[in-house]
Amino acid sequence: MTDSLSQFSVLALYSSMAVYAIAFILYTLDLAGIGPARFKLVRIGLSLTWLGFVLQSVATVLRGVAAGRVPWANMYEFAMTGTLMIVLVYLLVNLKWDLKFLGSFVTGLVVLLLGMSATRFYVEVVPLPPALQSYWLVIHVFVASLATGFFALGFALSLAQVLQERRERAVSAAVAKRWAWLSRFPESATLENYAYRLIVVGFVLWTFTLIAGAIWAERAWGRYWGWDVKEVWTFIIWTIYAGYLHARSTRGWRGTRSAVLAMIGFASVLFNFTVVNIFFKGLHAYSGLK
């Protein structure tokens, strides 16, 4: 029973990856200005992203049911839930603002991470070790994944902002037209605003993650903070984003510089998830990899 459920989960996950991959191609063709009636391509891309999201949700839920617990207790599952959150945030934000131009980035990143996870991090369903048996696993890891979703979009928007700003300068200086695909993006000030509003939400969630992690560490390890590698990186990420928020109120740091900080922030989030989990030795040895 458990076996067949987790196999269905894998099947659903691969299907969602295929759907995301097609969406990625459509989004990218649209950015490249190829194909008939461009606006339709992104619309189809968005619909496919919804479909991929539904499939991935099925995969994630099945995995949880197969394991009899929340589906975020090892690297494979972190990747599955984390990317699901990235897609979720993208889809929800699109209900409010038109951010379809980020579709390429989001689907591309998710396919890449899921592909890496499914081939390199896959582990069979195993029960939770006593150290993870806590409702804090449910809260702490879920909120961290959700924060990652907001930071990912903040990264994409900040990157777009930096490029757009350069393009705007080139255009106003009447230099040759470069990066025509960026003409379908909003102006850099708007991108900056979007980025800020998403990162702020991510920051609050990350602050919560940090505090919840400390509370859990107190229960599980007898101290709320011990500068374990994972704690160190959570702290570093928090500090970088605090720096980002300050940069926006510091003269000379608004614009490109603060955007670069937002990008470094998300790069650290990815680093924390991949390199720190796999190669650094610490108490958080929950990758499930041998």
């Binding site: 048996q133 505090i211 007898g222 500068w227 160190v232 940069a247 003269r251 030795k281």
Partner: protein
């Protein structure tokens, strides 16, 4: 330049210079730019501690690092890279940051306090100059219109103040009917909680820092290993290791005993991918405060026991074989239950039995314990399952000087073999001793016998007391709560000004200004205009 003026400069300059220099330094330190740079510096400075093992988190890793990198390690040590988070440079950065924070926040508190008690500012003369503005005409007298606008703004939570201005028109004498053109306006402001939240947030961070610093000093952390049936008393002597804070007072230890009645472990038996994985550790204990009745309690990995002003954590466990050593006449010279340290997930465990008295020579037994023994191709034993299915204990015997009389504290888990001779095992003529529970075997050279009476589980308990911990939590939650206000409450000023357009209609001007980030300002102005038109 005259003598006199030069004398003046030399007298005046240093004084002004020092004060001026200090003011300049203080202004630099408390500027946003410095705060930002220190924050980024703090992030960077935290990185090395994740690359190099830290004494506080991973002391064995540090020892291993020294062994693996004998050249490099002392160099790193000299710049405190094994103690990054208590190092002088790391401390300097965060202390400067917090000085900067305090220097930055205190003046803002005063400023904000004043702002909270004063009215919103006068309505600017020309509202159309502000970036977010709107102007339209509605039917009705100015008095009635401004009354409605005022009520609307109040209902939206604005703090408001009315202004009634009569501006003489140019060449007022000419226009006899309206010698003055009066403008009625409301100046409104909302979102003071944004700044309150921001100040509270920064203040709470200071609170966290102070509570963390204080907590480390006032409490203690002790470790104690006990096996099933054994008790320990909460007193300095009972701990295997004890780390008091700087201001710790030993008389503050609540007198109590904790007895380990049983330790139960459940292993996975169904799932083929996880056979033998522990599913649950439960320590059943009896606790007793001095002079009170004993109580039953449980300690689990994620469920510490909060008892007698301390928190008791279950951090480790393993097997403790019971061993008896007899001399050749059969007199017991040693009998104890000895915790063995687990070496792998199947709990192959290593321990030492030291027999200082009663035999012709001092004896050291280095033991291996296998809860479920199996032999590999080479004949070497290993444990294939962590539970007690087919336990076996093996010993290598050493005789000679245990080194116990030199007054140097010796680890109970290690045998110093420098003054000893190996009698069994590799590089000797005799095989290691092998015992199943209940078995007795002879020691070499007719020294006596050793018996494996049975095996118990032991647990390793951490006992902590941190009186400031609750304050750390309080300030952390306070900072999170106030952060929400600081980030999500928009602070803005809105002005509505009304002038008479003609006999039965009025001209309304609306403008708004945000403090901080607020991209919805234009929408707010449009909404307010809509409401006034409909009212």
């Amino acid at each position: 330049m005259s003598q006199q003026s030069r004398a003046e400069t030399t007298v005046v300059n240093p004084q002004l210079g020092l004060a001026g220099w200090w003011r300049w330094f203080w202004r630099q330190l408390t500027s946003m730019r410095t705060a930002l740079l220190l924050l980024l510096l703090l992030a960077i400075a935290a990185i090395p501690g994740s690359l190099v093992p830290q004494r506080s988190a991973d002391p064995n890793g540090v020892t291993a690092y020294f062994a693996d990198n004998p050249e490099l390690a002392p160099v790193l040590d000299s710049v405190q890279l094994f103690d990054v988070y208590s190092s002088a440079w790391f401390s300097a950065i965060y202390l400067l940051l917090f000085v900067s924070l305090i220097g930055c926040v205190v003046p803002r508190v005063k400023f904000h306090w004043d702002a909270l008690r004063s009215d919103p500012p006068r309505t600017p003369a020309n509202l159309t100059r502000l970036p977010a503005h709107e102007e339209f005409t509605v039917p009705g007298k100015p008095e009635a219109v401004i009354e409605k606008a005022h009520a609307l703004l109040k209902r939206q939570g604005y703090r408001t103040v009315r202004f009634d201005e009569s501006t003489p028109t140019a060449r007022g004498a000419k226009a006899a009917t309206a010698s003055t053109r009066s403008r009625l306006s409301v100046s409104a402001e909302r979102g003071y909680a944004r700044e309150t939240g921001n100040l509270l947030f920064h203040g709470a961070l200071v609170g966290v820092l102070i509570a963390v610093g204080f907590g480390g000093g006032a409490g203690f952390a002790g470790q104690r290993v006990i096996y099933e049936g054994q008790a320990f008393t909460n007193s300095l002597l009972a701990y295997d290791t004890f780390n008091p804070g700087r201001w710790f007072d030993a008389s503050s230890l609540t007198p109590y005993t904790v007895t380990l009645d049983s330790f139960n472990v459940t292993y996975e038996e169904q799932n083929q991918d996880a056979i033998g994985q522990p599913l649950d550790y439960t320590a059943n204990v009896t606790t007793q405060l001095k002079g009170e009745v004993p109580q039953q309690a449980e300690i689990k990995v994620n469920e510490p026991l909060r008892f007698g002003n301390t928190d008791i954590y279950l951090l480790g466990n393993g097997y403790a074989p019971q061993v008896t050593v007899r001399d050749p006449e059969g007199t017991i010279v040693f009998r104890d239950t000895i915790p063995f340290l687990p070496q792998d997930t199947n709990l192959t465990s290593v321990g030492v039995v030291k027999v200082p008295d009663g035999l012709d020579e001092q004896l050291g037994l280095v033991g291996f314990f296998y809860p479920t023994v199996s032999a590999g191709h080479s004949g070497a034993f290993f444990s294939m399952y962590p539970d007690l299915i087919d336990p076996m204990l093996t010993f290598n015997v050493w005789k000679g000087d245990l080194g116990l009389n030199e007054g140097i504290p010796r680890s109970v888990y290690a045998l110093d073999t420098s003054g000893m001779t190996k009698l069994t095992g590799q590089q000797t003529a005799l095989a290691s001793l092998e015992l199943k529970p209940g078995e007795t075997v002879a020691l070499p050279e007719g020294l006596g016998t050793v018996t494996f009476d049975g095996v118990k589980r032991f647990v390793s308990l951490d006992v902590h007391n941190d009186p400031a911990q609750i304050w750390v939590l309080f300030f952390a939650l306070l900072s999170l709560g106030s952060l929400l206000f600081s980030l999500f409450i928009p602070r803005r000023r809105v002005w509505v000004a009304v002038t008479q357009a003609d006999k039965s209609s009025s001209t309304v001007s609306i403008a708004a200004l945000a403090r901080g980030d607020d991209v919805t300002l234009d929408d707010r102005v449009r909404e307010l205009g809509e409401l006034i038109r409909r009212a």
